[in-house]
């Protein structure tokens, strides 16, 4: 793989620049996600891993590698806010599926970064579709908590994880109710008890490692959530459950919620906006797939936007490992259903970065941002467009994947070289 040098040079600290080259990405329609808006014929200069200049009349540094966008689009890399990239290789093969841990005695303490495999085959197939950053969300196991999420890049490098302990995931939807013992009341009681355990951590565990809800080790992991330093991502779809979550936040300040699912969020839009709680939705989720989601509609995204709610998009109706790459298509369908293009595009780039507290570093094209730049042969939200170049941390990445290799192997059926020898 490429970027071996930067892999060695980089540490987990995201601010460290790669010791990389200088690139000038030219001759394209630049979507900045800043007050500079869209620059029709612009250039983006990336040096030592970071963006250093963006504009219509930018001086191209001497010796820079030129990437000609050929009249296409130049955008920040896509940031997928809910994935299980590198956690799942083959979903039904449990030996390759680290998305959750049904039989672990621990829950909140589980750090999803420990399960992440940067060499997973879905990392490159996702990257070549323009997704450069992603959040990893662990599935729940024996209780409503899935564990602690992390943020990755899709370079495939050893240092792909650039933030850990990014949030804690808890399921308070109908599946969470089931996990908690059979009702919403059971799920919320468990959450309240977990917060109670954590507020009095470590004192209440002096005599015994078990609390009302959490093992001592899990309570320790929840401290930052209770103190509002780490967001709590809660899975809820039903309007009533979203209201319950907002009440929980109000009663447990300074906790910061992120709503995931949000099928009926449009019915609670004003309350969400007032509470400044961001929502992660799949804009194509329009079916009443469960009694939690009766109010599902293609207009969810537009209605939330109009109410002033912060919204980022997911691929919940697809999956989070093989087809997290379809995020631009889902955003395009939000546009088809009433969301302004720039808002929809931001919902898969800058907005997720801001929700996870890294919006000053990722999700925009401006000096000081990481050099995550994607060149597209057309509008990135169009299903027939595709990236031609993907830069991560200022390094150009490989556009070949296991899938393109298989394609090329079987491209010519008149070739009589045995298949296994076509290397």
């Amino acid at each position: 793989m490429k970027r071996t040098l930067s892999a060695i040079a980089l540490s987990l600290a995201c601010a460290l620049p790669a010791m990389a080259q200088t690139y000038a990405v030219t001759n394209g329609r630049v979507v900045t996600n800043t007050s500079a808006g869209i620059i029709d014929d612009g250039t983006v200069v990336v040096r030592d891993g970071d963006i250093v200049a963006v504009g219509a009349n930018v001086q191209i540094p001497e010796g820079a590698n030129i990437i000609d966008a050929d009249g296409g689009w130049i955008t920040p890399g896509i940031f997928a806010p809910v994935t299980q990239l590198g956690l799942v290789e083959v979903a039904l093969e449990s030996s390759t599926n680290d998305s959750g841990a049904d039989d672990s005695p621990y829950s909140v303490a589980l750090d999803v970064a420990d399960s992440f495999n940067p060499a997973g085959m879905h990392i490159p197939t996702t990257r070549v579709e323009g997704i450069t950053r992603a959040a990893l969300v662990p599935s729940t196991g024996h209780n409503i908590f899935g564990g602690r999420g992390a943020l990755i890049d899709t370079s495939g490098n050893a240092d792909s994880v650039f933030d850990t302990g990014s949030f804690v995931f808890a399921d308070l939807s109908q599946s969470g109710a089931s996990t908690a013992g059979g009702s919403r009341a059971a799920a919320w009681t468990f959450l309240e008890a977990a917060f109670g355990d954590t507020r009095f951590y470590p004192g209440r565990y002096a005599a015994h490692p078990e609390g009302d809800a959490l093992h001592r080790y899990d309570a320790a992991a929840l401290v930052d959530v209770v103190r509002g330093r780490m967001p709590l991502m809660v899975e809820v779809d039903r309007a009533a459950d979203i209201r319950r979550a907002l009440r929980f936040q109000a009663e447990n300040q300074p906790v910061q919620l992120i709503i995931h699912g949000g099928a009926e969020a449009w019915m609670v839009a004003d309350e969400l906006a007032a509470a400044n709680v961001p929502v992660l939705i799949d804009p194509i989720a329009n079916l009443p797939g469960s009694f939690d989601r009766i109010g599902s509609t293609l207009e969810n995204a537009a209605r939330l936007h109009e109410a002033g709610v912060t919204v980022a998009y997911t691929t919940q109706t697809a999956d989070g490992y093989w087809n997290a790459r379809l995020l631009p298509q889902h955003a395009g369908n939000a546009v088809a259903n009433g969301v302004p293009w720039d808002v929809a595009f931001r919902s898969i780039t800058l907005t997720p970065a801001e929700i996870y507290g890294v919006g000053a570093r990722y999700g925009a094209l401006a000096a000081g941002y990481a050099g995550d730049v994607v060149v597209w042969n057309g509008d990135p939200l169009e299903v027939m467009s595709a990236p031609t170049h993907v830069l991560i941390d200022g390094e150009e990445t490989d556009m070949e994947t296991r899938q393109t290799r298989l394609r090329d192997r079987y491209m010519d059926i008149t070739d009589d070289t045995p298949y296994a020898y076509r290397r």
């Binding site: 995931f169 599946s175 919940q316 999956d319 088809a336």
Partner: protein, 479 residues
Amino acid sequence: MIFDTWKTTAALASVLVLSACSNGGGDTTGTDSAGGDDGETTIVRHETDPYPSTYVPRPSTPTLIRGATVFDGIGGRIENGDVLMVDGRIAAVGTGLEAPEGATVIDGAGRFVTPGVIDIHSHLGVYPSPGVSAHSDGNEATQPVTSEVWVEHSVWPQDPGFEAALAGGITTLHILPGSANLFGGRGITLRNVSGRTVQEMKFPDAPYTLKMACGENPARVYGNRGRSPATDMGNMAGYRAAWQRASDYRDRWHEYWEDAEAGEDVSAPTRDIELDTLMGVLDGDILVHMHCYRSDQMAQIIDMSNEFDYQVSVFHHAVESYKIPDILAEANACSAVWADWGGFKMEAYDSIRENLPLLHANGACAMIHSDDAFNIQRLNQEVAKALADGQAAGLDISEAEAWSWLSSNPARGLGIDDQTGALVEGLRGDVVLWSGNPFSTYTRADQVWIDGSLRYDRSNESLQPVRDFMVGQPGEGDQ
């Protein structure tokens, strides 16, 4: 749940559908007389269409869509083209058509007209929304051979997924049992219309189909119960045993009919509902739709179809079809595939985005399918992705050709290509008027006609159906 597991369930359920069709010829009621006018001898012939379609096209007015870009579904593209529907049928396709008196004339400028989309692999109605336990009606996973079940007996006509699919331009869809079983049961082809009963939705005279399934699903379902099949070889043994029984059963009936028609005093064999379906396949009346992922397994299935002398009409999912287009073309077997799904199990690991265009380019019959209540709403986008990936790989395929993956090829796979799937004079008036190029993410179906009757209009709420389930619910009538 972070991701939708009910949808994954449907994918796991992706089964080849085996359905038998009530096609013409054998359509008799119980017995008929033979051996002369005296009727002394009656010959037993079982009704092949005991649950007949009661579908009646809605009234229509002559409709002329004028000045649109037309994809005719069989490779043709007409700029500034017109499509005329009269009496529920395609009456003319061309340019500069005259509107008959009293016709509704629609300005299609800047818009596109195509045949209605046909989804050859859907579980709407049998894994409906909401996905509650009472609605899990698609897999009779109690024994590996259940060719006696008919999926139409599970279809819930009130699934809100039907109207969501209509808004995506779906005019015909094929409902399949799941893939838990080697022989999952008969599939059924439906018009995408609202009905109080499934009979009111059944596509008149469409052949029945039979769903069969290869690979991991049946082996997993039954192997986990400590019974056969537990392996791929167990799957093959299970199919072959059933086909042999079916072959013997068919021989008994044909021998009986021959002897009875010759006037001999013979008794009819005992009827077996399970084997009736398999006999229908061996007689060529019922089309085999076979869920298979891997190329090597498809090749085994093709050999088996030769061993027992039947035809595989369509392989479903078929993520590795791109490896064997020559074998598939030789066997005259189609592939119904996704644009970009895969990875959820080992047999789906080699899925590539160019599967559909590579099949097409290499001369094998191919089409898109959904197997999903969301993707069925945007099959035009699924084809757009496959087409773009094929073009990027250097394959010379036009947008107009690619529309065959959405209409005429699935119509062929269902044996209804003499009825629908193309904008050709005389075929059913199944037509979609799109807001723009249907291969754009931003394009939506503006209007949808079924048998020439306007059944969906994006700008007219009275033409946006609402199934019973959504009446009085939050968001009723929202798309």
